[in-house]
């Protein structure tokens, strides 16, 4: 691996902790970010010459802090910046800081950073954008591309979010236990939203990258909260979903349904990690929605072929999920399992009351169309597929439904 790739990896990994520590010091998001950028620039120049520091995170924090303070001094007194060689000679200061970083500061700094991004005054779209900017360090242009908005609009969204936070007077002290548990759930929700942004984007690599970032953040959370079964469940869920990435689309970028996927293309490493985490989570006997969803994903992962899928297990898990979080979307998902177990008519009966709440939902019409088709009610199926296409979020979704329609056309012309 080249120097540059190593430095890039080390900086990415150090970022949440370093920006978190700088934020604690400066109590200002913009200033903490600038200080970190400054430190990164110096690292790019310094590390290839002097070799990587023993603790890159401590180095970046210390250099970032010094650079920002120098900036303040330079502005007020117009004095020269010290030469970079001096900054590289951190010696004892770095190791002293590294010792302290091992303790609770690490947890609190990263957490505070995530908490700030998940401030309840912010809209979810702002929370995600801010987390990508501050915690993950994606550029505004990258985030704008991922969310399919203009760079100017994204810049504005992030700036507004920062202003809101500045006004909201976020406490910089470590949160109490109760508040921590509550906000942890908010942080987990943001990470899952982020993952879904990438997952539902289909095979667009720009947005699929969001899935990797969400998994990286979940691993970070896991390391901070090693005994939270729901965090294990969240990580397991995302790992198991992500394991199917390479099998989800064909060469033309069209959707391949779970039952038609080539299971040898599933990423076995991610599957193992996901199953291991779910195993650990279940030992706690504190079930929650992420764990149940991970268990559903795991049921698919454990089936050697689509035919061997335990649909009874999946239906039971969706029932459990419905009880925890009643939602028409979950009922719709259960209907798919019911169709496998008891046939399409039972599924249609189950989703009959959902048409109104899901009247704008692509998957509702896609699924109902498929149930109707299985019952031979082709005219009604076609009407549902037409509505699904109108509601499709991505070209791949629309193309998938079009395949159904093409098949319908072909079979009716044969008659």
């Amino acid at each position: 691996m080249s120097d540059l790739a190593w430095i890039h990896g080390a900086i990415t990994a150090a970022r949440p902790q370093a920006v978190g520590a700088l934020l604690r010091y400066f109590r200002d998001v913009d200033r903490a970010e600038e200080a970190f950028q400054d430190a990164c620039l110096r690292a790019l120049k310094n590390w290839p010459e002097n070799g990587p520091p023993r603790d890159p995170t401590a180095w970046l924090i210390l250099v970032g802090r010094n650079a920002a303070l120098d900036g303040v001094r330079k502005q007020s007194r117009n004095t020269e910046l010290p030469p970079d060689e001096q900054i590289s000679d951190l010696g004892d200061a770095e190791s002293a800081l590294a010792e302290r970083l091992d303790g609770s500061h690490y947890r609190d700094d990263v957490l505070r950073l995530l908490f700030i991004c998940c401030h309840p005054d912010l809209q979810p779209s702002q929370q995600i954008a801010l987390a990508l900017r501050i915690v993950s360090g994606l550029s505004v242009a990258q985030i704008a591309r991922a969310f399919l908005v203009s760079e100017a609009a994204m810049e504005q969204r992030i700036t507004r979010a920062k202003q809101r936070i500045a006004k909201a007077d976020v406490p910089f002290e470590a949160p109490g236990a109760a508040e921590r548990a509550e906000r942890l759930a908010a942080v987990a929700a943001i990470i899952y939203l982020l993952f879904n942004e990438g997952y539902s984007a289909g095979n667009d690599p720009q947005r699929a990258h969001l899935c990797d970032e969400a998994i990286r953040l979940a691993r970070l959370l896991l390391r901070l909260f090693q005994t939270e079964p729901e965090i294990m469940g969240l990580a397991a869920l995302m790992l198991l979903q992500q394991s199917r990435l390479r099998a989800r689309f064909d060469a033309n970028g069209d959707v391949i349904l779970l039952e038609d996927q080539d299971r040898s293309r599933w990423d076995e490493k991610l599957v193992r990690e996901g199953l291991a985490l779910l195993d650990k989570a279940m030992r706690h006997n504190r079930p929650g929605p992420y764990q149940v969803q991970a268990a559903i994903a795991a049921t698919h992962s454990r089936a050697a072929s689509a035919a061997e899928t335990s649909w009874a297990g999946i239906e039971g898990l969706y029932l459990a999920l419905e009880r925890m979080q009643p939602s028409p979307v979950i009922t719709l998902n259960r209907a798919v399992a019911v169709a496998k177990l008891h046939g399409p008519q039972a599924a249609l009966d189950l989703i009959a009351p959902l048409e109104q709440p899901l009247s704008g939902y692509f998957h509702f019409f896609g699924a109902r169309g498929a149930f109707l088709l299985q019952l031979g009610r082709e005219r009604e199926a076609r009407a549902d597929f037409d509505r699904a296409i109108a509601l499709a979020n991505t070209p791949a979704e629309a193309a998938h439904i079009r395949q159904h329609l093409d098949r319908l056309m072909a079979s009716s012309s044969n008659v």
Binding site: G9, A10, R272
Partner: protein, 129 residues
Amino acid sequence: MLYTLLCYNKEDVVWSWTKEEDDAVMSRLSVVHERLVKEGKLGPSLRLLPTTAATTLRGPGLVIDGPFAETKEQLLGFYVIDVENLDAALAVAQELSGANPTSTYEVRPIALYVPDARANAPREAIKVY
């Protein structure tokens, strides 16, 4: 003499490698592996899932989540090699390190080696990555 080569690195960095980066390191390592196999020096080797997947038993009955110790660098995997002496073991570690330069290799002599006792013990690598 049997030695184990313990490979350490920052887990959050290594597990953030893209598939291409990971593949590049693994393919460089496999060059070294193949030579060691030909020379009859390579025993079992394995790569571990991250410490976030670890569970620790601390004394009978106390099962806790997470790894044994929270450290900056984590044990990622290990090799067992059969070489003459420490110098030879270090030479192998040197080569592995050349293929995977950001990781640290700890060389530890083995005091007890119990072979795989399963009747159906795999004869080939089980690749889960």
